[in-house]
């Protein structure tokens, strides 16, 4: 209860052990992913903006280069890859202009995240993705609980 929340900003990631908490604010088309090992009670969160890192830019900005980073860091902190469960939020289409593929990026982000988690054999235990509204994602390493809040839907527990 007393643990402070650590803020994960866009294109960043972080890892905590129980009772640590993580939060990322304002997921639009970006996707927030939490990974949690219930046995060691170590968990992490990443806030990715785009699906694929084709130009060798900041790894944590992208689903394909960010998720492996997060898994490595979790393993360093004592988590076991085979026990990790994922929860994801975000990937919305905030604007309705549809003539630009970049505005469909939310959907592509979610798709890529799913594919990479699948490739890593990590199960997705909960998700609140898509639609057209922004989300804030809060994670507790106490029990791996994720609470997604939005102006439109209030709070959803994953």
């Amino acid at each position: 209860m007393s643990a402070d929340e650590i803020k994960i900003r866009m294109a960043e990631y972080g890892v905590v052990e129980a009772p640590g908490r993580l939060v990322t604010i304002g997921l639009g088309s970006c996707v927030g992913i939490t990974l949690y090992d219930p046995r060691s009670r170590v968990g992490g969160m990443i806030h990715v903006m785009l699906p694929e890192n084709k130009k060798g830019l900041k790894p944590a900005k992208y689903a394909d280069t960010g998720l492996p980073l997060l898994v490595d860091e979790l393993e360093d902190e004592g988590a076991k890859r085979s026990r990790l469960v994922a929860k994801i939020a975000g990937g919305a289409a905030m604007f309705s202009i549809s003539d630009n593929s970049s505005l469909n990026v939310g959907e592509r982000n979610v798709e890529k995240v799913r594919q990479i988690l699948n490739d890593m054999d990590v199960e997705i235990a909960g998700e609140d993705v898509g639609e057209d509204y922004g989300r804030t994602m809060k994670f507790s390493a106490e029990d791996g609980e994720v609470v997604v809040s939005s102006h439109k839907k209030g709070e959803i527990t994953l």
Binding site: R9, M10, G28, K61, S102, H151
Partner: protein, 206 residues
């Protein structure tokens, strides 16, 4: 590399961009004032180059509910224009234009159209100034409005620049109408590759 441009922009180039912001925003403020038939003040534009991680908080609390109107700028130097307004300002501004009581919680299609039209006018005059200075033929898309948390609107508007850089350049101005308590952030976000083109046109050899 576009990445290097954003990281290594010198003071002179920054000043040139600030001047673009100044003239562009000045033009927009004039159009705004004429449209509303009242005095509109603007702050001196700031030119910020910041890591994307910091960009969600440039207008303050990123979880705050705001209205954001976005336009794509197309042509020689693609960019994104974003106008962010807090709830009270939306109510006052749309109320003034539509001449009625407006509730932010219950914005209807007509209110949203009014807001989009205002941003259309502002962006048009901003781009006119930019076109005159550079000789470009930049055109704008139709505006699109989202009402949601500031951070979610900002991050989504930064996707195009995020594709080619880990930093973003923001030329932003605040418009203020003291009497009616209208304030809003008007941002020009050039895509990383556009920056070099704009600066080249202004005589910088990058």
């Amino acid at each position: 590399m576009s990445e290097d441009i954003l990281e290594s922009l010198d003071d002179m180039a920054r000043d040139a961009l600030k001047e673009i912001g100044n003239i562009g925003a000045g033009n927009a403020a004039t159009a705004f004032a004429q449209f509303l038939d009242r005095k509109i003040d603007m702050t001196v534009p700031s030119v910020n180059i910041i890591p994307l991680a910091e960009a969600q908080e440039i207008t303050g609390d990123s979880s705050q509910l705001v209205a954001g109107v976005m336009l794509k700028v197309m042509g020689e130097a693609p960019a994104t224009i974003l106008f962010l307004l807090p709830p009270e300002s939306v109510e006052n501004l749309v109320g003034m234009v539509a001449d009625k009581e407006v509730s932010f919680e219950e914005l209807d299609e007509v209110d949203i159209s009014a807001l989009e039209e205002i941003v259309n006018i502002l962006s048009g005059s901003y781009l006119n100034a930019l076109n005159r200075m550079t000789g470009f033929n930049l055109v704008q898309s139709v505006p699109d409005c989202a009402v949601d948390m500031a951070g979610a609107i900002l991050s989504t508007s930064l996707i195009p620049v995020g594709k080619t850089s880990d930093y973003t350049l923001l030329i932003d101005t605040q418009f203020i109408d003291q009497g009616e308590k209208i304030e809003g952030y008007f941002m020009l976000i050039p895509h990383a590759d556009s920056l070099q083109k704009i600066l080249n046109e202004l005589g910088f050899d990058l």
